[in-house]
Amino acid sequence: MSESTRTSIIVHFQGEKLLLSADRVLYYPAEKTLVISDVHLGKAGHFRRYGIPVPTEVNQNNLTRLSQVISQFNPERLLFLGDLFHSETNSEWVDFQQWRRYHATLSMTLILGNHELYSAQKYEDLGLQVLSHLDIKNIRFLHHNEAPITHDHGPQSSTLTPAYEPENHTQQIDQMKASPIKGWISGHLHPGIKIQGKGRQRIILPCFAHYPDQLVLPAFGTFTGLHLITNKTPQIIAIAENELILLRQAT
């Protein structure tokens, strides 16, 4: 595994070639679509509204990085996998509006996440197409797939972390019956992995979690925490600063 570090990596998922990048994004070349999850815009502002001082640069930094990945991949469509906005409207929405105008020609789609508090109209006004999920071929893009199909979950994580309670998913199940969806790409979890080494060293990194039928993206936003996933996950692509590291399940 000497060639295990680089800034991007290609994975094969449900017969499609997908590019994972150390910039915490996924690029789908065949569809010219850039997929980004959990930006949590406006979070810093939300904290400030409640008297907790968080520097304005936090939000600016997220927007700057968004612009950078756009110019890097030059996509035709930007797909946000939910939690683009952290909370209620605040001045950071205005920043986003400006940023949106700057990228006016680019088509942007938002899949609603649990942090999106408002009706679709509010987001459509910002120039975003709003969906509950998006199906491309037999892959479904959504915010959170709360019942991953074939793999083992962490030790009872759902019972003790009520943060990830199922949202309204009856509709999704109905549609699942209708179309032959075989793979799910989602965000929501903010996956992180702990690596241990000799000399009692430990490092925690954000990562992509890759299962046969599911791919979970890391959170794009910087002012967000991590949720540690189990190292039983078949394939983990960890992000160390600006490089990717492939960690396979130890067998």
């Binding site: 595994m1 295990s4 570090t5 502002g45 939300h46 904290f47 400030r48 509204r49 409640y50 008297g51 907790i52 001082p53 968080v54 520097p55 304005t56 640069e57 936090v58 952290h86 909370s87 605040n90 001045s91 950071e92 942090h115 030790p155 009872q156 019972t159 003790l160 009520p162 943060a163 690596i195 241990q196 080494g197 000799k198 000399g199 009692r200 060293q201 490092i203 990194l205 910087t222 002012f223 967000t224 925490g225 960890a238 160390a240 600063e241 490089e243 590291i245 960690l247 130890a250 067998t251």
Partner: protein, 842 residues
């Protein structure tokens, strides 16, 4: 005390009546008590220097009885006396004592308690009509000051008594006490302050901090209770030293030696250092001697108040034979003394040890015996060190905390949430405290600005609205959510979220740190409150449990059990160590007639004698460092390269020194360390060979560039980040949510470490980051202390060994799991190495 209820004829003066009451009860009036009564009558203020259990409470309570007896009834309205105690648990006992004596004199004076565990309805009643006497804690007073118009409560305030001042001083709660005193004095300049303190190494300073200003201090009095206490220290030893583990912190291997002592004694307190340790001991004792069920109890700070009250009352009524406890029973009013006191593991400080010993044999002049139960072999030396420290009365000083930014931010918010404040008089008030005596106008305004704008510049952060200013220059909080949040947050000077533990049927058992419950699955079992419990489910900060009949169960470990030896203790320990080595050398020389041996046998003690076989192992595998010798050992294991240093300077100094040493080695080669330490020494562990020889050649312990290196190693270590946790909590950045409120507050939760990182990248000069650095510099990197230690190492010699196995000195450090990090490698290189290792194992 049951006879105390006889009413007394109101014909004589108050003082006479109190005298009679004492005589009727066959109590002696001590000189210091009388001195206090007269001093208070003379409108003096000051500090009473008296140990627990000496009658200190009556010394400062009786003068108020006298005053009320002498004064006309109408002058007795309103809050007159505030009695501040550091522990909620003490408040109740205080209340009972006060009520008893008031009843004896037939005085119509109300006594109230106002602490975190008093119900909201009682607090509401108090606010409508304050009792004349209020027993409370520093936090509760700050909550009170966060009320609008709180000024009205203090109109008739006569005195504030700060009990157990030695316990509060040197902590941020001490600073909170200072701030309250300044407020009370500003509202009512005639208010008198009295402090009660056990012996401290800096008594003079203790008085100065309490009085606030130089002038007040000059006019105050110090009264000393001349109570001589004899303390005997006895070690509990196993049959043979071979049975002694080289590491550990529980000490249960000595249970068979302890049981006979417990059997002989009518009542015993077993002091442990952590709550987990107390749970374990309680469980082991019951398993070993089941017939003690009902006569043995557990007491620690996480247990529900009702449970603790019951234990305290039962102890008082002599219904319990054994109580296993933590520092929760350290302080305390004069509940009846016990016959025997046991100390499990190092007490870490001389003052604490003396205080615990004083729990037995309360009669003046009597000898208190304290049994010391070491948890591992080397800890035996501490018994010897403690005995010497007690003999020479080496009680440590408690330096007061100077100008903490987080407490000031919290206080200004409290004032703003309350009645609001204006800048000028507030600064004046702040400067009348010891802590903020030198607060500059510039710093003060910077702090206010921080609360108003949230950022470093005058221009406010968008939507930031914490502190606002009205046209009259009064600062206030307009946003109700912020005000409510602040009130909730005052007083939580503990940084871990606590969860309630409740039975399914509803009974409360106590609280436990969230992270412990987070490790458990439903159906897992754990020990708590001396019971085996099964986790049923977790709901909104409450863990529901039921009794589990059998099966193995985990013992919770609470964080925060890692105290450092006080500097006095480490000094004494070092001496005991040298004594042991000298004695060992002497014994060896006697066995080989060729060696010249000293004329006189060096001093020894039971403990030192006992340790001989272990010292022999240390000697043969490595060496026994003598005076002015620093031993460094290097060994290898599957984990990598271990480097041990033994300066015997106490955990705090080792924290700084180890980081400095790691930093200097890491400058030579790219390398990553994890660092562990105890009171004796520290360990650097790395996955690669550590170039110690090269480092020593390049003056590893030089005092040159010390300050530069300290700052550099600070930035590379996590020490400041850890300090920042508490600061973020006090300053109100980290918020645990309202009780019973789930989701909506979660949008506002963020770990302190993420704040730390954000501030580091965008506002490196942030006020609170600065404070975190200052605190590390004060506690771990005390430059003067470090310089002294480095000088001592440089003038002495360094002994370097490469033992094949971990030595008795190394073992207790090596097994420590809690580690610091320090790295000069690139992140990506570290991960690559880790991966390479991972693959080798597969």
């Amino acid at each position: 005390m049951s006879t105390a209820k006889q009413p007394i004829k109101p014909s004589k003066s108050g003082l006479n009546q109190v005298h009679n009451w004492f005589t009727n009860n066959h109590w002696e009036i001590f000189t210091f008590q009388q001195e206090c009564w007269l001093a208070v009558q003379d409108c003096k203020e000051g500090i009473l220097h008296a140990p627990t259990g000496s009658g200190k409470t009556f010394a400062l309570w009786m003068p108020h009885i006298i005053r009320w007896l002498d004064a006309p009834k109408q002058s007795q309205k309103g809050l007159q006396l505030i009695w501040i105690t550091p522990l909620r648990a003490l408040a109740k006992d205080m209340e009972r004592q006060f009520r008893q004596s008031l009843a004896a004199f037939d005085l119509d004076i109300q006594v109230g308690r106002r602490t975190g565990d008093v119900s909201a309805s009682i607090r509401k009643k108090q606010e409508q009509s304050m009792p004349q006497v209020l027993i409370t804690t520093p936090e509760s007073l700050h909550v009170l000051m966060a009320q609008k118009n709180h000024e009205r409560y203090f109109k008739r305030l006569h005195s504030v008594v700060v009990d157990e001042w030695h316990e509060l001083m040197g902590s941020k709660r001490g600073t909170q006490t200072e701030l309250f005193l300044a407020r009370a004095r500003a509202l009512k300049p005639e208010v008198k302050t009295w402090g009660i303190s056990a012996t401290l190494g800096n008594m003079e300073e203790a008085s100065e901090v309490l009085m606030g200003t130089e002038e007040r201090h000059q006019n105050s009095v110090t009264i000393k209770a001349n109570i001589q206490k004899n303390i005997r220290v006895e070690s509990i030893l196993p049959k043979s030293v071979e049975f002694f583990p080289w590491h550990g912190h529980l000490g249960v291997h000595l249970i068979d030696e302890l049981i006979p002592i417990l059997q002989r004694s009518r009542s015993t307190l077993v002091f442990t250092n952590t709550r987990g340790q107390a749970e374990r001991w309680f469980q082991e004792l019951l398993e070993r001697v089941p017939e003690w069920a009902g006569q043995i109890a557990l007491h620690h700070g996480s247990l529900d108040r009702k449970v603790r009250n019951w234990v305290e009352e039962s102890l008082h009524d002599e219904r319990l034979k054994i109580v296993v406890c933590t520092s929760s029973l350290d302080l305390g009013v004069d509940f009846s003394p016990v016959e025997t006191v046991i100390q499990v593991g190092s007490p870490k400080g001389v003052a604490r040890f003396i205080q615990r010993a004083g729990r037995s044999g309360h009669q003046p002049g009597a000898t208190s015996t304290i049994h010391f139960l070491p948890t591992h072999a080397l800890e035996l030396l501490e018994a010897d060190a403690l005995r010497e420290a007690v003999r020479h009365d080496k009680v440590e000083p408690r330096p007061p905390i100077l100008s903490p930014t987080d407490v000031l931010l919290q206080y200004l918010m409290t004032r703003a949430v309350g009645s609001g404040f204006t800048a000028e008089p507030t600064l004046k008030e702040l400067r009348s405290t010891f802590a903020y005596r030198h607060l500059s106008e510039q710093d003060f305004h910077q702090i206010i600005q921080f609360l108003c704008t949230g950022g470093p510049s005058l221009q406010a952060y968008p939507e930031f609205a914490k502190l606002e200013i009205d046209e009259k220059g009064r600062y206030f909080v307009g946003n109700h959510t912020i005000a409510r949040r602040h009130r909730m947050n005052i007083g939580t000077i503990s940084s871990d979220a606590n969860m309630q533990i409740k039975y399914l049927s509803g009974g409360r058992i106590g609280t436990i740190e969230e992270w412990f419950i987070g490790q458990l699955k439903e159906g897992d079992r754990f020990w708590f409150s001396g019971r085996r419990l099964e986790l049923i489910r977790v709901e909104q900060m409450t863990a529901y449990v039921r009794r589990a009949s059998s099966g193995s169960a985990k013992v919770p470990s609470w964080l925060g059990g890692r105290m450092s030896l006080s500097s006095n203790m480490s000094e004494m320990l070092k001496e005991s160590m040298l004594k042991a080595v000298t004695y060992y050398d002497y014994e060896q020389s006697r066995q080989s007639p060729n060696l010249i041996r000293p004329e006189q046998s060096p001093k020894s003690s039971v403990e030192i004698d006992y340790l001989k076989p272990i010292l022999a192992v240390q000697q043969s595998w490595s060496m026994l460092p003598g005076p002015n010798q620093l031993l460094i050992e290097k060994s290898f294991s599957r984990e990598g390269c271990h480097l041990f240093f033994y300066p015997f300077e106490g955990r705090n100094v080792h924290e700084g020194l180890s980081t400095l040493v790691a930093h200097r080695i890491a400058k030579l080669v790219p390398i990553t360390f994890t660092i562990a330490m105890n009171d004796y020494g520290f360990e650097l562990l790395s996955d690669q060979d550590i170039p110690i020889q090269q480092a020593l050649e390049q003056d590893l312990f030089s005092t040159e560039h010390l300050l530069t290196d300290i700052y550099a190693s600070l930035n590379n270590s996590e020490l400041a980040k850890r300090r920042f946790r508490e600061i973020a909590q006090i300053a109100g950045l980290v918020f645990q949510g309202f009780p019973g409120q789930g989701r909506s507050t979660r949008h506002l939760q963020m770990s302190s470490s993420l704040f730390f990182e954000v501030f580091q990248s965008y506002e490196p000069n942030h006020l609170l980051l600065q404070q975190a650095l200052d605190e590390v510099l004060f506690f771990q990197f005390d430059e003067i202390r470090l310089r002294q230690v480095l000088n001592r190492i440089q003038t002495g010699d360094i002994a370097y060994r490469e033992p094949k196995r971990f030595t008795p000195y190394a073992f207790p450090i090596m097994v420590d799991r809690l580690r610091e990090k320090m790295s000069s490698e690139k992140l990506i290189d570290r991960i690559k190495k880790m991966q390479a290792q991972l693959i080798k194992h597969v």
